[in-house]
Symmetry: C2
């Protein structure tokens, strides 16, 4: 069991309730990372389902839970032959923190009937760059859990040279060796700095809601995470993420609606 497996563990305490312990190692400043929190919720939802894989997850980020004990309450809405639907709520101190709708199914490994190529080319990993280590006092503990190798222009904003478009692209793997699985993908779809930083945005950009689809089980190796946005307007922006596995297969798609920071 890896540290990530442990940090996302959900222990069933009754038919609808799971105990979890939110790990301080997944913080981005004060709050915990949304992708990590989704992975925790999904552990419970998949355990409670007759199917194996979370094919669709929507999370509304109502509040920012803190590290420590919490519960996931799972309510089955319908279990059919192909898919099951459930509502899952992350609760801390009796207050709902994340509200989720999760569809589970069991994916096979058939050859696709149709598959698009990647939406953007990546340079080879040797030409990609890491972000500088965050200062210990920043509370960015998440950075130590994963390794990201960025397409250089998409972190130009770090030295005052944003590309002018909302975008962020990187290769991704867990710092502790681990093959990617659906829970790692939940982390990956929300792991990069907000795309709005490349369009001149700054500061804490809270996710309001995020939907992601698991399209295939990832092969071992590096993931490629391609993130972009279409519209930054009225304080809102969309962030769309496509994740491909080491064979180039589309394994996850997400879109989140988030607020532009005031920083």
């Amino acid at each position: 069991m890896t540290k990530f497996d442990e940090a996302t563990q959900a222990i069933r305490v009754d038919e609808n309730t799971y105990d979890v312990c939110l790990d301080p190692g997944y913080a981005i400043g004060g709050p915990l990372n949304g992708g990590y929190l989704m992975a925790v919720v999904l552990r419970a939802a998949v355990d409670a389902s007759p199917f194996e894989h979370p094919v669709s997850t929507t999370a509304q980020f109502l509040r920012a839970p803190v590290a420590g004990p919490a519960q996931v309450r799972v309510e089955s809405l319908k279990a059919g032959r192909t898919a099951a639907f459930a509502r899952a709520t992350l609760v801390q101190n009796g207050v709902a923190q994340i509200e989720g709708l999760i569809t589970t199914a069991t994916l096979g490994d058939a050859e696709p009937m149709y598959a698009d190529g990647p939406s953007h080319d990546m340079p080879p990993v040797e030409e990609c760059v890491k972000l500088p280590d965050p200062k210990p006092e920043s509370g960015m503990t998440l950075n130590a859990q994963m390794e990201l190798f960025f397409d250089p222009p998409t972190i130009g904003w770090l030295k005052g040279e944003p590309t002018g478009r909302p975008e962020s692209r990187a290769y991704f793997r867990m710092a502790e060796p681990q093959d990617p699985d659906p829970y790692v993908l939940a982390l990956a779809v929300d792991a990069l700095p907000p795309v709005v930083f490349s369009a001149g945005g700054r500061g804490w950009a809270p996710t309001v809601d995020l939907t992601w689809h698991l399209r295939a089980l990832p092969a071992p190796g590096l993931l490629t995470v391609l993130a972009s946005g279409r519209l930054v307007s009225d304080g809102w922006f969309d962030e769309e993420v496509e994740v491909r596995d080491s064979t180039g297969r589309l394994v996850a798609q997400s879109r989140q609606l988030a607020r532009v920071g005031r920083g």
Copy 2:
């Protein structure tokens, strides 16, 4: 009040319950159209919210409700300064049919900080084509409620010439003159034939879940609906829709996960 406004009316009967009457004029064969059903749910959710606009909607399509009376149950999850979160369930004969998570806010009309162009060019509307009227016995009553002018290659599948890619593109307006609003957009994001028809798929392609974001209030005039998919695999496909108003502004974005028909 237009026929569409009437068909989507939600009348509050107590703090959390709205009476609705599902209209047989929005059927696609037997079942009612998912976009229409979302519009009905949104009428209730927005009425119950302190904010004016449904900025984010996720719907799980649990079952296929029939025309006639139903209820929408709305439960507020949190109302903050910028946005409010609610769960909304369409219930018929005591059984949940659609489970929704809806985020509301009030959109302004500020100039965007960043705006992408359309993902695909459309020919002028004069070069676009309508679908043939469905046979009365087909039960496709939805077609009479709206006017769609298709980019010709994307309905090539009708004469056995699919493009080979999951795609569908059309100009859209209501048959009864009405300016587009968020409820019309809920219909528009699920109004075109499934994109998988252009990739060789056939038959009833049920939506499993759909998430759409309202990005701006649409200007009067024709909408442009651009739909595409990235992966058709293992019986599942994604359908992504971008809706632009008559000024070219991005007003709605959606993605649904659906099943390939066996037809």
